[in-house]
Amino acid sequence: MAEMRREWIVNAVLAMALLIVPLVALWINEPFYVTLATRVAILALAGVGLNLALGLGGMVSFGHAAYFGLGGYVAGIMAHHAFTGLPMWIGVTGSNQMLWIWLWAALLSGFLALIIGALSLRTSGIFFIMITLAFAQMIFYFTLSWPAYGGEDGLPIFVRNQFPGLNTMRPWDMFILSYGVLMLALVFFAMLRAARFGAALMAIRQNPDRAAAVGISPFGVKLAAFVLSGMITGLAGAMMADLTRFVSPAMIAWQMSGELIVIIILGGVGRLFGPVAGAAILVAFEVIFGGITEHWQFFLGLILLGVVLFARGGLIGLLAGRARHG
């Protein structure tokens, strides 16, 4: 119980910090840090998606960049058509409304996750890792060679898509929007984890034979979680495209899938605020060591090794102790 309370305090501090840093940056007129905090929020959102599959369900997907990139391309392509006025498909036009774009990003990512999950969830361990990677690589090479939307050059978004009541071109507005969506996703994650669905999912991760013996079919529950996971990560991809105003195959590259896993491991696998802590560490590393050496990923790798060897619960585990399930 004490550990539960401690985790809530750690979570609250993280949530406050992510809000206060860009506020201060705005105050001292450093919009770069507002954008950086936005980047943390959106990467954390993508991580919340992966945390659902990997943290709760034990599905080590090494291909979540596929959903991240698909979400990004949905945003890019819809904005592109809204900008040029050319119809996308017969009768369907583009849009520059984020809510509409997010809906499609989530739906299509969920559909992709349904197909990939249905084909890969019968496997486990290293086979599952390799199959999810292979699917993501297929999509990566497809976007690379598909000239209609920029191919390897990527596709710019000239003006950020719009959200009612906000001026998304202003850094603070874009931040608070991303922060709000992240917080909603965290609430959803927490509720899901505490509900019967989460109970079944976490049980399957720990002991699939026992889950089956009480009548819970592991496949169906895992597939449902995998689809939800892909939807959230896809939504994050659409938001990232708007933040950087650019989508390219790099969003689908295996390095991106790796970064998402790194975020989860650094923050704490299965922990509610793990993705927030992990994304903050990753972006901080990028900024601090990225300026000193181009081999900053090497140092990140060292930290990762340290976490895996000495602090399996990640930063949240270090600060709040072991997870308890009551």
């Binding site: 509720m191 899901l192 505490a194 509900a195 019967r196 669905f197 109970a199 079944a200 976490m202 049980a203 720990q206 002991n207 034979d209 026992r210 889950a211 089956a212 013996a213 009480v214 009548g215 819970i216 079919s217 592991p218 169906g220 529950v221 449902a224 997870a323 308890r324 399930h325 009551g326």
Partner: protein
């Protein structure tokens, strides 16, 4: 004679050249405890795996409450009312005793896709879980993660999880294993009453328990049933086979 709840007809299973289950036919009738005994490696656990659905049979069929379940998955058979315990405790290690029982209850109630309502505030799970834990004497250990329970407590939790399913038949694979004489005696008394709720197919090494509990006994060796009948008959038979029965003591 009442219709059998569980009915195995000529079931066989091989691992490569090894016939682990060889043309086994047996029944489990309402209200009875049917004990399955035999030396280590006789194929008792394999037979349990065939019945529960973990392994597919090579030939033969398994009928449960009049339905051929030979091709159903483990989860489907569990939902039809087969409640099993594992020879080696197989629980959800991070979950408390209470949550292990609640998992079985939620599966039995059939709503695995309830996404948002927290289980810890679900009276439909918490109340029956408390009752089930009380029945096996684990109410004082409800919040302890199952990985931190003692061996004997884990064995009881295995039983509690099976109870929570309110099954139409129990498959218990060596429930007494490592329980100590005291624990074994108490569990024997408990199972004695349990048969009124649902019949029990009991794999057990503890011969005192088997002879105290069983209505019928089947003796398995080399994957085949070499003797079957009422307890008295097998006990008499066992005298003849002292050497054979003796070799699996303490295994």
């Amino acid at each position: 004679m009442a219709e059998p709840v569980l009915d195995l007809r000529g079931v066989s299973k091989s691992f490569g050249a090894l016939r682990a289950t060889d043309n086994v036919s047996l029944t489990l009738k309402p209200g009875e405890i049917h004990a399955l005994i035999g030396p280590n490696g006789a194929g008792k656990s394999t037979l349990m795996a065939l019945i529960s659905g973990k392994l597919p049979p090579d030939s033969g069929s398994i009928h449960f409450r009049g339905q051929d379940i030979s091709r159903l998955s483990v989860a489907q058979r569990a939902r039809l009312g087969l409640g099993r315990s594992f020879q080696i405790s197989s629980l959800i290690p991070e979950y408390s005793a209470r949550r292990n029982v609640m998992l079985a209850l939620q599966a039995r109630q059939g709503h695995p896709y309830r996404f948002l309502w927290p289980v810890m505030r679900d009276r439909g799970l918490m109340d029956p879980a408390r009752e089930v834990l009380r029945r096996v004497g684990l109410e004082g250990r409800a919040s302890v993660p199952s990985a931190e329970l003692s061996h004997g407590e884990r064995r009881l939790l295995e039983i509690a999880v099976a109870l929570a399913l309110e099954p139409r038949a129990f498959l218990l694979d060596e429930p007494m294993a490592g329980m100590g004489t005291d624990g074994a005696r108490r569990l024997t008394a408990f199972l004695d009453k349990l048969r009124a709720e649902a019949p029990i197919l009991l794999v057990e090494h503890d011969m005192d328990a088997v002879f105290a509990l069983a209505d019928r006994v089947s003796v398995l060796a080399g994957g085949r049933i070499i003797a079957a009948g009422p307890v008295a008959e097998i006990r008499a038979n066992a005298e003849v086979r002292r050497a054979y029965l003796g070799e699996e003591e303490g295994a």
